[in-house]
Amino acid sequence: MTWLWFFAKIGVALGIIFSLGPVCIMGDRKISAWIQGRVGPNRVGPWGTFQPIADILKLMMKEVIVPDGVDKVLFLGGPLIVFIAPVFGYCVIPFGNQIGEEKLQVVNLDIGLLFIMSVLSVGVYGITLGGWASNNKFSLMGSLRASAQLISYELTFGLTMLLVVMMSASADPLKSASVDLSKIVLHQAEYGWNIFGGATWWGLPSGLIGFVLLFTCAMAENNRLPFDMAECEAELVGGYHTEYSGMGFAMYMFSEYCSMILSASLIVTLFLGGWSFPYLTDPADHSFLAGVISIGVFFTKICIILFLYIQLRWTLPRFRYDQVMSLGWKTFLPLALVNIGYMAVIGVFLEKP
């Protein structure tokens, strides 16, 4: 029975990421079409819904061109490595309430947050490798930009996660902070979402700023449009995937959407209460139906965040590279530090037992 549960959970987690990926691609194209006054894909299947499948079939049948002078092993390995972050990261995301004795989370790690951080930091290798191995100046520039950007924004990313940890500790009777994601979600279900300051009223500004910071940093980590320095089709042609064709390109593209989904899940888990919703889910109710409802709530929240991502992508212009850097180091990092300082100082003075 345990093994069955285990595989079922893996199935749901992978199902979310791999089925939502094509939906996300489709949504991206349809939403962009609505924004731009177009129709969007509408030929394959009803309302064009099979378009992603057709795209992937097309890309699979295309030849993988390996240009002259590339580092073959790294060139072909790059597209594989980019999948590490989204797939491994999803192991620790709690996607629903407990059903019976089983937590709806593939593995319940005590170091959940840190695990995600470390997996994300490995994810950049795919881009760096691919860009470097391509033997192309534009690719190299794209991959250098991507890794510099990732390192810069990881700091703010980490500090904002720290904020969440502090928030979930603030109302805990034992005062012990936890980086366990399922505990963070349970805390939010019990006391209030972290975006509204968690358990306390004075946490509200901190929570809002933290949410905005995490949202933006996640966008930067995914190389989505206002921050898509690595691709930047107007300057670097295609950035790190200029030389890729066929499945190599498909995997880079798909992994971008997968990491988008991971980021959305992370934002939902850390700030928007995970699978919980007032009056709809009850943390104490461990029935099957409640579990399914909680999965539905989680799914809906992810979709809202993803919609925001896509909508922002199609309405905002792109930053310049140095502007991205100065935004990260000169605005976001101090803001995150002040935010944490506020939380810590007020937490100590107001919540002193």
Partner: protein, 414 residues
Amino acid sequence: MAIDRPTRLPMEIEEQTEGDLGGKRMIVNFGPQHPATHGTLRSIMEVDGEVIKHMDLEIGFLHSGFEKISEARTYNQTVVVSDRMNYLSPLCNNIGLSCAIEKMMGIEVTPRCAAIRVILYELSRIADHIVCVGLQAMDLGAFSMMLWAFIERERLYDIFENVTGARLTTSYTRVGGLMRDVPHDFKDQVKAFLITGRKTVREMENMLNTNRIFMDRCKGINKIGKADAISYGLTGPLLRAAGVPYDLRKNRPYLGYEKYDFELVTEQEGDVWARYRVRVRELYESMKIVEQAIEMLPEGPINIGDPEVVIPHKNEKNNPQGGMEGLIYHFKNYMYGHGVQPSPGEVYLGTEAPNGELGYYLVSDGTQKPWRWRVRPPSFYNYQAFPEMCKGGTISDVVSGLSSLNIIAGELDR
């Protein structure tokens, strides 16, 4: 000035070293096939990190020999050649060319013809500017803006198609008049466009004007000062963005532009942002002109009555040159040694095309074909100042700068 710098081949640049670290500068090649060039241009950049230290331009990838071809065409036939130069606003080329030939021959077009030409000229300007602003936004990543602009451009092309029969290769003007009169629903179509066009431009302004990212990408980028702008021979929105109030429609009016009430738009900064502002404000001014022209569009003939220049209708009743007389002119106009034959001499007429001064310099030897047919394309003069603007900026600034110049390769290389 760029002239005193010896031209170096890309291979030679590679050898140059700089800085105490002894690091070599990297050569980055932009184009001829690059998404940001919007045409076949090439700029070879010498970058230190991402900062541009030196830039060489290479042009001629789209050279089509229009000027030489035109020397083997009659005057009316060169109108067809002129379509292909600025492919964003072909009607401006047609109208400018015809005006130049008419100036050479001392012809004054009819009021209705002049008004229609002004309307079409300004509509072309709107089509050109709106696409340029859209592409500028697209190059900075705001892809949706480009498609919004193209929706309006398509509406304009519908009007052009209705008027001329073609969307791009319009060939609408003739010496002394137009190919044909505008259709009966022309006024309604233009009025309908003015409503949607204003709405779209306002929407685009709402999206971009206070957008912090767009401002950061545009303000202070690709700056060129007043004096430099004049000495490089910049014209059009680029010159006006640098604060020089120079617009041929005001300074040397043609086609009766002095009758219309519009503002000469200038900005002071001379950067990408100022160019964007100039273009957007000119969109409104052009719409104002079109509105006035369409209100007081006079009735009457569209062609001058001189049968030596414009062929009369063949069998039209009540036409003094109709019937047999008209038929004779149909032969005469197309026979060698007859037709449009300016007396020997030369003429230069500059018109204010969307990108700047579009000048035609024609030399006639008295035959029906021009002896010399030369164009002063605004893009050519605008493009030569590009390395000066880019120096010290980053590669990303090249992209935003290039889209703000609105270089049309067809016009640049001719």
